[in-house]
């Protein structure tokens, strides 16, 4: 994965997607796809190659946790890095995501630096 790889941003709030998109641009990722809930995200994931998923936790129809579980259960997608965005570091939420195989989580609000750190950290793990 490099800076031209496609990142999927999943959030039901369009402004939030824009916020994340802007932050990603700041750290050099220009190739970004968006989805407004888990279901749409799965469609995107199946229709094109996505190298990295950044998903909100709380969404209608299909939550971030359900999306994570679906991705991990899918033979083709299970190796896709997954970064979960949460509002607070609520222990329950984080633990559930961790158990379901999330690569890392990030707490709102975050800066471009923190996001960069999390993404590069995850990518480094996958390279091994």
């Amino acid at each position: 994965m490099d800076k031209s790889s496609k990142i999927l941003v999943v959030d039901d709030f369009a402004t939030m997607r824009k916020v994340i998109r802007n932050l990603l641009k700041q750290i050099g990722f220009e190739n970004i796809a968006e989805a407004e809930d888990g279901e749409m995200a799965l469609k995107e994931l199946k229709s094109q190659h996505i190298s990295f998923i950044i998903s909100d936790w709380n969404m209608p129809n299909m939550t971030g946790l359900d999306l994570l579980k679906a991705v991990r259960a899918d033979g083709d997608l299970c190796k896709t890095p997954f970064l979960m965005v949460t509002a607070e570091a609520l222990q329950d939420n984080v633990v559930q995501a961790v158990k379901a195989g999330v690569d890392n989580y990030i707490v709102k609000p975050f800066t471009a630096d923190v996001l960069n750190e999390k993404i590069t950290g995850i990518i480094a793990k996958y390279k091994k």
Partner: protein, 731 residues
């Protein structure tokens, strides 16, 4: 072997731990460990290896703390390693059927010291207090800096949309308090608003949204019930949030220096004290009402059961009735199912309204161009059958396209209705009346641009119905009506219009008293030859509403002339029907869209004009004798006993007309603002639905016309605006 599985899990954990690069457990590995420990706890419990489960549990909590960064990786890893060793010792001694005499307690104590979580508390019950997590970084600063204008703009638009969604869903929630989907639907927008507000550094908005979200989270977890106190707090909270977000808009527009910082102390204390508020039985009656409707119980029985002090108040009405053997559980579940409204989930995409308007405009142009091609002489004369059939195919495609494009801007009236429901709720509280609102036809569609326009007149009428239509509970009981009044809001399509009916079961209009008042006011001479409808219409007369007293006599009249004007401005009309003592119905007819007008095409000289059909009262060719030239008043025509001023359109627009005398020409009686005048025209060409086109910035202030339209023959016609035309004719 008995402990084979346990040994293998512990070995897996140990080997995973040894594979760590340095003393750092990353998130995915934490996940693996947690799952392994979970199965270890299950195995340990199953085989009665208590100490093992204890340690595994302690290690899970440790990992959770590490992943949340409240325990450092280094310290955590050392403890974890120790834990693995202790667990290995335990299994090996158990395998040898020996008693483990190592010190589990001291290890657990060291774990507790590190994590701060006592052993007895399970990880499920333990939650980090939410307030502690919010970073209290910034200091009070009165200056407001716009960080990223485009993001802020998006946030304002989307945030406001979300808040109106909250309002709708809160009311749904009130009706279906058990429905998790509705709780989530209210929870989520607050959550999203909070998330973005935190990025945009909008501290106050974030805080309030956060507190409301926390409140709803408690509802979601079943800790708090859905009651009217809760609904009130959410609605009030949404209002404050809305004000704050709207003030941001003003800051961006430059009309405010810094955003609104409302005093939320009262609201916050209500949120804190929600546990102590009393539940009312609004929701319970609802189920009861359905049971009555189904014929399962009688109204008396419902009242009796509701107010039976012997019964516990915490029980729901359905349970009580079943307990008493009055209804079967099946009947209750059927009623409950009726309560649940199915929200239809549709796939949607957000599109800029401007783009949509442009698209609809362009399609309008396409339709007209298509019509012109079809009427082109060369094509009409053409003997090429292929060309003719292709053209007619083009015509049917374009008309289908036009139909689809107009439907794009159509939205269900639901949201407006829900706002009305909320209004009724607020109003009844203020005036001490007891009213239920009954909505139907919420799926009826209307042009998005019309929605805002019809809001004010509807609010006015609802207010009137609550204020003056519905009697006080005492009065209602006296006249043998149910204590609770009923206001019905119904929408349906009729012709090219949407009809919105507001029905109340209140005191109704009193014909005699209205007539008497009108005679006193000099509005009419006698009521003998007037129909009920005509008498009722008097309440729309401006003279009627100015008299305060009339309100008490008629029960109506406050500002109804304003309503009528607003409705007419939208080219709509109002009809009243009423039975004294039974109630009143106001039916307002609005056009579905402001983009199309139903007009009468008239010709004056070589020019064609369009008169809005809603303004036309009559079409006639006057008799020679009906014409008078009154000194000081100008030319008048006697139309059925009324002297109406004559307006010569050719004079106003300074063009040549075919006729000099009104008895040779045609006269269109047009009404606006409660006045009628006669417009003299050469010819009436027919009725047509035309697409309204603006006249552009340069011509938009011209008096007498409100716009232009391309007629079926491809020519341009001006749309007359009776109101300003009247003013023009008087100068």
């Amino acid at each position: 072997m008995k402990y084979e599985k346990i040994t293998s899990i512990i070995n897996d954990i140990a080997s995973n731990f040894l594979c760590l690069d340095d003393l750092h457990v990353d998130v995915p590995t934490t996940g693996i460990f947690l799952n392994q420990l979970e199965s270890l706890i299950a195995e340990g419990d199953a085989h009665g290896v208590g100490p093992l489960s204890r340690i595994a549990h302690g290690l899970s909590i440790l990992l959770e703390k590490m992943v949340l960064n409240s325990v450092s990786q280094e310290e955590g890893c050392r403890s974890f390693e120790k834990g693995i060793t202790v667990m290995q010792e335990i299994t090996s001694s158990f395998e040898k059927n020996e008693y483990y005499d190592g010190d589990v307690d001291s290890f657990m104590e060291s774990l507790t010291a590190l994590t701060g979580v006592a052993e007895a508390i399970s990880s499920e019950a333990y939650q980090i207090p939410v307030t502690d997590v919010i970073p209290e970084e910034e200091q009070e600063d009165d200056r407001f800096e716009v960080q990223d204008e485009s993001l802020l703009k998006d946030f304002i638009t989307e945030g406001l949309e979300y808040i109106s969604e909250i309002e709708v869903n809160v009311l749904n929630l009130e009706q279906n308090p058990e429905d998790k989907d509705y709780i989530n639907a209210v929870f989520r927008p607050f959550h999203s608003i909070k998330g973005v507000a935190s990025f945009l550094d909008l501290k106050e908005i974030r805080e309030l949204a956060h507190n409301l979200e926390t409140l709803l989270d408690r509802v979601r977890s079943g800790e708090l019930p859905v009651n009217s106190a809760l609904i009130d707090i959410i609605l009030d909270g949404a209002d404050v949030l809305k004000d704050m977000i709207e003030s941001l808009k003003e800051v961006l527009e430059g009309t405010r220096s810094h955003p609104l910082r409302p005093d939320t102390a009262e609201l916050q204390s209500r949120i804190q004290n929600i546990d102590r508020s009393v539940d009312d039985d609004g929701e319970i009656k609802k189920l009861g009402a359905i049971l009555i409707q189904d014929g399962a119980i009688s109204e008396d029985l419902l009242e009796e059961t509701l107010h039976d002090p012997a019964k516990s108040t915490t029980k729901r009405i359905g349970e009580k009735l079943i307990e008493d053997g009055k209804v079967t559980p099946k009947q209750v579940s059927k009623a409950l199912r009726k309560q649940v409204q199915q929200t239809t989930a549709t796939n949607t995409i957000r599109v800029d309204v401007k783009k949509l308007d442009d698209l609809i405009d362009m399609i309008g142009e396409l339709v007209i161009t298509q019509a012109m091609i079809k009427q082109n002489q060369t094509i009409l004369k053409s003997s090429d059958r292929k060309l003719v059939s292709d053209i007619s195919q083009l015509a049917s495609i374009t008309s289908e396209l036009q139909r689809t494009s107009t439907s794009l801007r159509m939205i269900p009236i639901k949201q407006t209705f829900q706002r009305m429901a909320r209004l009724v709720r607020d109003l009844t509280k203020n005036v001490g009346k007891n009213v239920t609102i009954n909505l139907s036809g919420e799926e009826t569609e209307i042009d998005r641009n019309m929605v805002e326009e019809i809001y004010n007149p509807l609010v006015h009428m609802i207010r009137n119905s609550v204020d003056h239509g519905i009697e006080t509970p005492d009065e209602r009981i006296k006249s043998g009506k149910p204590e609770k009044g009923l206001i019905g809001l119904r929408a349906y399509h009729k012709g090219g219009n949407i009809v919105i009916e507001i029905t109340d079961d209140g005191r109704g209009l009193k014909r005699d008293k209205l007539a008497k008042k009108a005679i006193e006011k000099g509005l009419i001479k006698s009521a003998d030859n007037m129909s009920d409808h005509e008498i009722f219409k008097l309440i729309f007369h401006p003279g009627f509403s100015t008299a305060e007293k009339v309100t008490d006599v008629s029960g109506r009249g406050v500002g109804m002339d304003v309503v009528k004007q607003a409705v007419e401005k939208l080219r709509g009309k109002i009809e009243i029907s009423s039975t004294e003592g039974k109630g009143t119905t106001f039916a307002t007819h609005f056009p579905l869209t402001m983009a199309i007008i139903d007009g009468m095409i008239v010709r004056v000289g070589q020019e064609k004009y369009i008169i809005p059909a809603t303004a036309i009262r009559q079409l006639l060719r006057p008799l020679n004798t009906a014409y008078n030239n009154v000194v000081g008043k100008g030319e008048m025509l006697n139309v059925m006993g009324n002297l109406l001023p004559l307006v010569r359109l050719n004079d106003i627009f300074n063009i040549e007309s075919a006729y000099k005398n009104p008895w040779e020409a045609l006269v269109v009686v047009v009404e606006a603002e409660n006045r009628s005048k006669c417009l003299m025209v050469d010819e009436v060409l027919g009725k047509e639905e035309v697409v309204i086109k603006g006249l552009g910035d340069g011509l938009k202030d011209i008096k007498g016309v409100s716009g232009g339209a391309i007629l079926g023959d491809g020519n341009v016609g001006l749309i007359l605006d009776p109101e300003s035309l009247f003013v023009l004719s008087e100068n």
